[in-house]
Symmetry: C2
Subunit: 230 residues, 2 copies
């Protein structure tokens, strides 16, 4: 159950003035290209997406996944060009901010400025976890961590609590997130499925036993406090 903080009327008005429109991305559509001089900052309102980087020869590393409430393109907004690419995993609705209004946001809406810092620091924490995982966990532990992580995230933004949680990713996504080959990823996921921890169906994953995954990975889970939505 996400805890959305209440916005002041002025903040809401400011936010509304930037919602240029809705971008409805088809599954798999490239939303934002690495290197593009992108003058906008986005908030994901609904859907799943992921950020990634590639080496010249095509090797791809998925950096993190984006769920509703996540900020997108902050780096582009604050620093300059986008340093990574973004792709949608499901139809996505974005809220668009103009970058050149960022100064105004910090000046006139310090609460929103703080939220941006909060979101950036939360993203940092997730990346820290991913680094630990890729750097020091075995393939099986990594896979367990990733699926537990995504399940927890999905759970946190799930509107209706009863609804079945499905992770809309393919094994190729898992491979590119964990830094493994597809073949080995498949064999690893098979082991998890054989242990009854997950089930793979239709290029989606269902987590059957989050606690089991977390124990296998040695992961404590996220420790969130407050959760703004902008």
């Amino acid at each position: 159950m996400p805890q959305f903080r209440a916005f002041t009327p002025e903040e809401l008005k400011f936010i509304a003035s930037f919602k240029i429109g809705e971008l409805n991305a088809e599954t798999g559509t490239v939303v934002l290209q690495e290197g593009a001089h992108n003058a906008h900052l986005y908030t994901l309102l609904s859907g799943w997406a992921f950020r990634y980087k590639t080496l010249e020869d095509g090797r791809r590393q998925i950096l993190n996944y984006m769920l509703p409430g996540d900020l997108l393109g902050l780096q582009g907004s604050v620093i300059g060009d986008m340093e990574h690419s973004v792709e949608a995993l499901s139809p996505v609705v974005l809220c668009v901010f103009r970058r050149d209004k960022l100064d105004e946001l910090f000046r006139n809406h310090p609460g929103l400025g703080f939220d941006i810092a909060w979101l950036a620091s939360r993203e940092e924490r997730m990346l820290d976890e991913h680094l630990l995982s890729i750097g020091r966990r075995s393939a099986l532990e990594r896979a367990a961590y990733l699926l537990a992580f995504l399940h927890k995230r999905a759970e946190a933004v799930q509107a209706s609590k009863g609804e079945l949680i499905v992770l809309p990713i393919s094994q190729l996504h898992v491979a590119d997130t964990l830094g493994l080959s597809i073949v080995h990823t498949n064999k690893t996921l098979r082991k998890l499925a054989d242990r009854g921890l997950i089930r793979w169906l239709d290029r989606t994953c269902r987590v059957l036993d989050v606690a089991g995954l977390m124990e296998l990975a040695g992961w404590e889970g996220p420790s969130e406090r407050r959760r703004p939505l902008i």
Copy 2:
């Protein structure tokens, strides 16, 4: 040559009011412990440090290195407990902020608030690069990337341009950053040394050929625009 932005007099006064004192950490001293409820936000004024996380069984992953101008403990300040540990690589001087003044900072000093977001987003970009490196580069490429990266960072904060740049890290640090074993790290660094790209001396590293390292790693280098110091 770092580009420090100019602070307004009010900002300077505000900053000065939080410089509680100097922490002079001996080399290798643990400055901040993971999990500690740390009520402060730090800025590194001089020296080198690094952030890391560990698994229960002791496996350690270094997340990033901290050089003068870097923010430290933002996660703890904005979110709650520290999620990682920090250790100094050389005597370090920190500027200490009280966390409970963070709201005031965003409210009364939007420029500084923006700087914090800027720094957070820069850290995010560095973590992105590290993820790509650990996930998808070979051992040799990873090592080349890391040393080029650190050399560039050191160069950027180096006061006198003529001075010889030395990276104050041991091979164990390199191993724990790259997600490799010490033994293999040693063999990998040896290859770089044999190619004349680096020289290892006295638990420090000297980069002899940054361009060579960058080419080997397929790394373009950082693309910084503006650089605040807070």
